[in-house]
Every structure is written in structure tokens, then in C-alpha cells.
Subunit: 198 residues, 2 copies
DNA sequence: CCTCAATTTGAGACTGGGCTCAACTTAGCT
DNA sequence: AGCTAAGTTGAGCCCAGTCTCAAATTGAGG
């Protein structure tokens, strides 16, 4: 690749990172190109689809989440690991509107590895009796979807509000809180499909 | 008003009710007009803004919610009233994508009366020790936003999933579940502003 | 039946994005 | 210096939606 091409690619990524963070994933591509100081044609040259740009921008975040998950498993207390992991993911969501959208679409855990780790975190915290036994991995989507909605609604007007939402959600997941949950949980396939709908 | 005008108005409302329910509030106005068998110009004649149409379509729902709230207060058990009310609202959300959007925007409780009733329902359930004392009226928004997000994501692929989400949220609101909640709650003004952002 | 104010109509102006491609420019090699 | 493949450019096309307004139509009172 020619060096001007490399440079433009980087400028585009920088611009996209910023604009996604401030405005979410739906930011106009023209605006990204303009901010990068490059023409719309060049943007399409480097990134033929919006998704390819998004994937590139958030690639590091996927790694971050995996790291977060490993930290969680390394913690002595299973509940602290569980709650800490969810808090970490939600902090990423709250700090970047683009990532907030990205997480909702399920991209955060893609690559199987994320899913597997998350399952371990959950099962460990259930095994120790901290997390209620009747929740499933797929129920975790409710936390991500819910907090994402709260972040979207409140980031301008009450930026910390999502922490209360998360705290309530976590309290609902504790073993002490358990009542019976209605209906069968979503299958993993259903959850993936639902995330694609976002 | 001439009788053809009245008729067209009603056709438009019928069409809008249906299309909002199936596709949410963002349905193209042209499609509503087409479905009603009327021209786009007529739609604009009868309803100068989208909001005026929306308000008309969901006027009855606002009344329904108020009725739901009064039923809740009439129930012997404060918790049952509280949980029943939230369940009723969520059922409306799940049954109508348009109302789902409408509720998120806070229109559901507008007209002060709704707010006052909701506050009574909450305070009664806190007074009896069923609902944790540290939650505020404004925290109820998390339930609506959260379930709305789940409804949007899952209505095609797992239509009942929101009930699990709601059940978990309710368990988080029970007195037994109480841990400390972080930060100050949103003010009513902040909550209203946040809802307007949706 | 006539009249006219009320109503309807739909072509088209306008907006805001996505996306393309022929013409131009330039990095980097020999 | 000259060549060429790689890269850039942006005008312009497309699509989908909102909204307007002058002309055509029609209900209903006299």
C-alpha cells in the first residue's frame, strides 16, 4: 500500500473514532470524510462498507472486553468478577455512543471467545451462590440493551444515570432476589438474531 | 367540519393506528396516507404535524394507563398493584411498536395526573416495605426504557422475552434486593428532558 | 340547481443521506 | 526524468422521505 493511502486510512480511522464516539454509529460518512480532510471517494476506497469501518474502529474494544473478562475470572470473589465485568462493559458503552450501538448489536462479544468467557464468569458466580441460578447467558443481553437505552436517553442531561440502572439490574440478578422467571430463556440463536435486528 | 373531512380523518387515524402498531412511530406519512386511501395533502390538512397525529392515535392509551394506575391503587396488596401496573404498561408496549416508542418518549404519563398516580403507587409499595426505599419515581424510567429496548430487539424473534427482562427488573426493585444505589437519582426535569431526547 | 367555501389532490420542490466513476494526480520504481 | 499503477477527487446520480400550493373537486345551504 502506498504511504499516502496508509496515511489517509489512519486519518479516516481517527475521524471515525471521534465522530462515532460523539454521535453514534449513524454519523454520515460524508462527515467522516470531511473531518478526515479526505474526499468521500477515498473513504469508499479504503472502507467499501460502513461495517468495515466500524469493525476496524472497534477492533481494539473487542480485545478490551476479552481482557476485562479475563480480569473478572482472575478476581477472587465470583460476584465481584461478575459485577465488575458488566460494569466495565457498561462503562465502555457510556463513554462512547458508537460503542454503545456496537454493543447492542452484539458485536462486543463476537468471536466465540467472548461468549465462552462470559459464560464462565456467569457460571462461576452462580456456582458460588451469588448470582441466581435461573438466569441464563442470554439474559445478560437485557442488561446491555437496557443500559444502552438509558445511556442514549440520558448522556446529555444526566450522564451518570446509567449507574443507577445498572445497580438495579445487578440487584435483580443476585441470588437473594430470586423469584421465578417467566417463560423459557432466549436461545443463543434467538439472541444473536435479536441483536442483528438492532 | 364537512362530513367527507370527518371520514378522511377517521380513515387516517385507523391507518395510522395500524401502521404505528406494526412498524413504530417512524412510519412514512406517505404510507399512512396511501393505506388510508387518501392523498398526502389531505393527511397534512387534517394533521399538520406528525406529533398531532401521534397524539390523537394514542390519546386512548393515555387514558388506559391512568385506568391501570387506578386499578393498581385499588388492589389490596401494594406490591401486586405496583408490579401489576408496570406489567400492564409493558404489555401495552409489547403489543404496539408505536406505543413502545411513545412510552419511551414519556408521553405515556404526561398530563400530570399519570405522574401523580404513579408516585402514589410507588410510595404505597415502599410504605408497606415491598419496594426498596431508595428508589425514586424517576428510576421507573429505567424499566420503561429497558423493556422498550428489549421489545424492539426481540419482538420478531422471541416475542415473550421482555417478560423475563421485566421480571428481573422487578426483582431488583424489591426491598429484599436492596444494596446501595450510586449517585443522586435523576430529577423529574432531567427525566423529562431525557425522554424528549428519544 | 347554483354557488362557493371547504376540501382534496398530487406533482414537484427540497433535504439529506448513500454510492459511483471518469478524469485527474502522484508515489515510487527504473 | 519518465513511466505507470496506485490513489484521489467531487460532481452527480439515486433513493426516500418531508412538506407545499395552485388547480380541481365537492358538500351543503339558499
Amino acid at each position: 500500500m502506498r504511504k499516502d493511502a496508509v496515511q489517509n486510512r489512519e486519518r479516516l480511522l481517527r475521524a471515525a473514532r471521534q465522530l462515532f464516539a460523539d454521535q453514534g454509529l449513524d454519523v454520515p460518512l460524508e462527515e467522516i470524510a470531511r473531518t478526515a480532510g479526505v474526499s468521500i471517494g477515498t473513504l469508499y476506497n479504503r472502507f467499501p462498507t460502513r461495517d468495515s469501518l466500524v469493525a476496524e474502529v472497534f477492533a481494539d474494544r473487542v480485545a478490551t472486553v476479552a481482557a476485562l473478562a479475563e480480569q473478572a475470572l482472575a478476581m477472587a470473589d465470583p460476584w465481584d468478577g461478575f459485577a465488575g465485568f458488566l460494569t466495565g462493559v457498561c462503562e465502555l458503552q457510556a463513554g462512547d455512543l458508537g460503542y454503545n450501538d456496537f454493543a447492542v448489536r452484539g458485536a462486543a462479544l463476537e468471536g466465540d471467545r467472548g461468549y465462552g468467557l462470559m459464560r464462565q464468569i456467569l457460571e462461576r458466580a452462580q456456582g458460588s451462590g451469588d448470582v441466581r441460578g435461573d438466569v441464563t447467558l442470554t439474559d445478560m443481553a437485557f442488561v446491555v440493551w437496557g443500559v444502552a437505552a438509558t445511556v442514549r436517553a440520558t448522556y446529555k442531561v444526566a450522564p451518570g444515570a446509567w449507574r443507577r440502572h445498572l445497580a438495579l439490574a445487578l440487584d435483580g440478578l443476585r441470588a437473594g432476589a430470586a423469584r421465578t422467571l417467566p417463560g423459557p430463556p432466549m436461545s443463543v440463536a434467538q439472541t444473536r438474531a435479536a441483536m442483528r435486528e438492532c
